[in-house]
């Protein structure tokens, strides 16, 4: 039972933050309902949240959708989380996701006829490699020049969007479609394990959670990553190479984000076209922050936000409450996590802090060379 008590102590603030976020969002739904044709409806928030729950958990399809939506969030959350462990804030998961999805689509198309055991892993690897490369760029720039990843990764998100749109228009456009897109991935798709779309990627995502946890907790690489994140100067003193670790961790982060794109491509979307959603990007940040950048925390946070994403369409169809309310709830959760003072005041709780210590390193390197940057 002690582990249960420990779990509650760790989860208190996040749980209350979510509760509070829903409460504030309910007020917003109420107030904004005045401006709709249907007019003010005091029961609207309850109706909306009920549909959200039913959409996410109310049926086998709903549950499957929740898991399917959670899988890329696990990869994306891990991407942001492992970056945070090294004192890096990767807000470029959206871009890395897109290049990962694109690369796996292209390779998947070319191996569409090959056996799944060949085509699928090859396409996954391509996505991982593309994401890793796209993470390496800001990682290298941070390590070498001190250009802060918060700005460079956002810029690369836009670059990815534009360049991939060009690529799918001019380079790899499949013939026979009315709009620019890649071809069919055929046998390279992730096998469906059960139901309509419960694909293998979910298993891979959960497995990756434990692999990352093992790396961080049990290996010397994990020790190096954590030391650089907590105190880059001490890492240098200890003989580690923060410059190298920074570039490597950002590459790993990009790799995980690229895998998020790959499993989404090979398990759900099936082809790359301009405008495919990269909402996983911002969701991943929320997942990592809610999970306190801890792999197990990320597992639960991804399931939760996966449920929101899975349930939101039903909510919008049946109650006309826009799905963007999920973004608002996400922002509010982050707000209450950042300002846990509010939660403590409202619920009168004394619980463990949720602040991520490594954020001090992230903010400390703002606009200046990382502390490890002046290594010889």
């Amino acid at each position: 039972m002690t582990w249960l008590r420990h779990a509650w102590r760790v989860a208190t603030i996040p749980a209350y933050s979510i509760l509070l976020a829903f409460a504030i969002a309910a007020i917003l739904i109420l107030v904004s309902s005045v401006f709709t044709p249907t007019g003010f409806d005091p029961l609207l928030p309850i109706a909306a949240y009920l549909r959200l729950l039913i959409g996410a958990f109310g049926s086998t399809t709903g549950l499957t959708n929740t898991l399917v939506a959670a899988a890329p969030l696990m990869f994306g959350g891990l991407a942001v989380g492992i970056g945070l462990k090294a004192g890096l804030f990767n807000i470029g998961v959206a871009g890395q996701f897109l290049v990962g999805a694109f690369a796996s689509a292209v390779v998947g198309t070319s191996l569409a006829q090959a056996p799944t055991v060949v085509g699928m892993p090859a396409a996954m690897l391509a996505g991982a490699a593309a994401g890793a490369f796209f993470g390496f760029i800001p990682g290298y720039l941070k390590a070498r020049t001190g250009a802060h990843e918060v700005v460079t990764t956002i810029m690369l998100n836009n670059v990815a969007l534009l360049i991939l749109t060009w690529a799918v228009n001019d380079l790899v456009r499949a013939p026979g479609y009315s709009f620019p897109r890649t071809g069919e991935i055929g046998l390279a798709a992730l096998p469906v394990l059960a139901g309509r779309n419960l694909h293998l990627g979910i298993v891979l995502a959960v497995a990756t959670i434990f692999i990352v946890r093992w790396i961080l907790d049990r290996t010397t690489l994990g020790f190096e990553i954590k030391t650089v994140g907590l105190n880059p100067d001490a890492a240098r003193y200890a003989g580690m190479r923060p410059v190298f670790i920074t570039a490597l961790t950002m590459t790993l982060s990009g790799l995980l984000a690229g895998l998020a794109g790959a499993i989404q491509m090979l398990g759900v979307i099936g082809f790359y076209a301009p405008g495919i959603t990269a909402g996983v990007g911002f969701d991943s940040i929320a997942v990592a922050l809610l999970g306190r950048s801890d792999p197990i925390g990320i597992l639960f946070a991804a399931l939760l936000f996966g449920a929101f994403r899975a349930g939101a369409p039903l909510m919008q169809i049946e109650t006309s409450v826009p799905i963007e309310v999920i973004d608002i709830i996400q922002a509010l959760v982050i707000l209450f996590l950042a300002a846990d003072l509010i939660v403590r005041k409202v619920f009168r709780v004394r619980a463990e802090k949720v602040q991520i210590r490594e954020m001090a390193t992230v903010t400390g390197s703002w606009a200046g060379p990382a502390a490890g940057g002046k290594a010889p």
Binding site: T219, T220, L221, F223, T227, D233, Y237, G239, K374, P376
Partner: protein, 506 residues
């Protein structure tokens, strides 16, 4: 004119910093507040200056009780303070720093620079030291910066001036100059509270001395009626030997040799300008110098944290100029950094992880999968052994290093670095901020290693520590070694003069 009655302050965590302290200050006197680091002197003065709110007690000025909520209140009541760590904005000019908060303006907002410069120049001349009001503060020497601090207080018409450890960063010459300024201020009617833990200075400058120990006043004396030994006993609570027994040294082969070393600081100014030095096995070489004369960068070059612009570093017969930090460590180089929070420890990590911080990737602390796996049992065993050996007070090896006291944190760093297979130890401020007991302990450890044949390079801002421990003393000034003394011929005054001017005789 100032009375502090029954001042009590308890910090979160339970430390009783001030426990019913009584202090009174008469007009035109210099009143010294004497105590060890951590005795509560600074807390008391921060209460007076409105930086800390007391839990209990009363402050009276000219007989009337006053409440001081913040520094603005203190300034309004004529209290000025020169903090131990200067409260100056480095990138602003002297004039801007002095007027900050009480700016000379034309209209409500427009700064009148010319008027400010004029007023400050007048004020400085009145106090008897020239200063350029348009100079940027980060271009000034430490002694000049201190004058800016005094100017700030006098500009605000301070009648009560508090100086917190004003001589800690000064050379003996600068100290004498500041004493002249203080005496001049006293003659002009300013009352001065002088905080220090240096007995000789207190006896020289003060009209009265109040000694504080562990947050309580333990005695008040007039200099004429007391002596160093009595004050020391009051301050520490037991009789202490003020000098360590160093014994004699038996230098052997050359272990460390630096030739023509040049290096730049983080702002790319060259601050080490051609240093040659040699440290032999079994001797302690001390580098004396006012902080900021390139010692920090020199040390970082020697241990591999900074790449020199020119010159070479040799360990025995190996050139290690471009060897990495861990490469040097493997060759037997230990390093106790000046700033244990910045370099020495990862505060959120457990004591255990900090103990293996520098050797985490070596067997037996790592092994399996090609040395990729950490071996926690080996780390734990090592931590337990070192905790016992160096008397680190901690509940267990699993608690975070950040929860330990400063002294125990320093012991943890020292314990980690003082391994058995050492050839060279580089110690930068190894005892900064520690209590007397811990200092004694660490000094004894250093001497023991020396006697075992380790070469020791000691850098310290405390001239006394250098004089007490070193077999040979080098003086560093503006990036160069300007003097070398054998321990027997190193006189305080001579070393101090070199530290201050870079010349043996002016």
């Amino acid at each position: 004119m100032l009375e502090m009655r029954a001042i009590t302050k308890r910090f979160p965590g339970g430390t009783l910093a001030n426990d019913g302290i009584e202090l009174d200050l008469r007009a035109g006197e210099i009143h010294a507040l004497l105590g060890e680091n951590g005795a509560g002197k600074t807390t008391l003065m921060n209460i007076l200056y409105g930086l800390v709110t007391p839990d209990e007690g009363e402050i009276r000025i000219d007989g009337r009780p006053v409440t001081i909520h913040d520094p603005a209140d203190a300034i309004a009541r004529g209290i000025g303070m020169v903090h131990q760590h200067f409260m100056l904005v480095p990138v602003l000019s002297v004039a801007e720093n002095v007027v900050l908060g009480q700016e000379v303006t034309r209209g409500p907002q427009l700064l009148d620079r010319a008027a400010a410069v004029r007023r400050i120049r007048d004020l400085a001349e009145r106090l008897g030291f020239p200063i350029d009001p348009t100079a940027r503060v980060d271009q000034l020497s430490v002694g000049q910066q201190q004058r800016v601090e005094i100017l700030k207080a006098i500009y605000r018409d301070a009648r009560i001036l508090v100086l917190d450890e004003p001589t800690a960063v000064l050379t003996p010459q600068e100290t004498r100059e500041i004493f002249t300024v203080l005496r001049r201020l006293r003659e002009a009617g300013t009352s001065i509270i002088f905080i220090s833990h240096k007995l000789d200075e207190v006896l020289e400058i003060a009209d009265r001395v109040t000694v504080i120990r562990r947050g309580r006043v333990v005695g008040s004396r007039r200099p004429a009626e007391t002596n160093e030994a009595e004050l020391a006993e009051l301050m520490v609570g037991r009789e202490v030997s003020l000098r360590v027994d160093r014994g004699s040294s038996h230098p052997g082969d050359v272990v460390l040799e630096a030739t023509g070393l040049r290096a730049s600081d983080d702002r790319r100014h060259e601050v080490v300008r051609g240093v040659d030095l040699v440290v032999r096995a079994g001797e302690i070489v001390g580098i004396a110098g006012v902080a900021g004369n390139g010692q920090e960068e020199l040390v970082e070059c020697l241990v591999g944290l900074r790449r020199p612009n020119a010159g070479s570093v040799r360990l025995g017969d190996r050139d290690i100029t471009s060897a990495s930090v861990d490469g040097r460590r493997d060759l037997g180089v230990a390093f106790v950094p000046a700033d244990r929070h910045r370099f020495g420890l990862v505060l959120p990590y457990s004591v255990r992880d900090n103990v293996v911080l520098t050797r985490y990737a070596e067997p037996p602390y790592a092994g399996g999968l090609g040395g990729f796996m950490r071996q926690e049992d080996a780390c734990e065993a090592d931590a337990t052994r070192l905790i016992a050996e160096f008397d680190v007070r901690t509940p267990s090896a699993a608690v975070a290093a950040g929860t330990l006291s400063g002294g125990n944190q320093q012991k943890l760093v020292v314990a980690r670095e003082f391994r058995h297979d050492l050839r060279l130890m580089v110690l930068d401020q190894p005892t900064r901020g520690l209590d007397v007991g811990s200092i004694e302990f660490i000094h004894k450890q250093v001497i023991a290693r020396r006697d075992a044949g380790v070469a020791v390079l000691l850098v310290s801002a405390e001239l006394d520590e250098i004089l007490d421990l070193s077999d040979r003393i080098l003086v560093m000034f503006r990036g160069r070694i300007v003097g070398s003394f054998a321990a027997s011929e190193a006189q305080r005054e001579k070393v101090g003069l070199l530290m201050a001017t870079g010349e043996a005789r002016t």
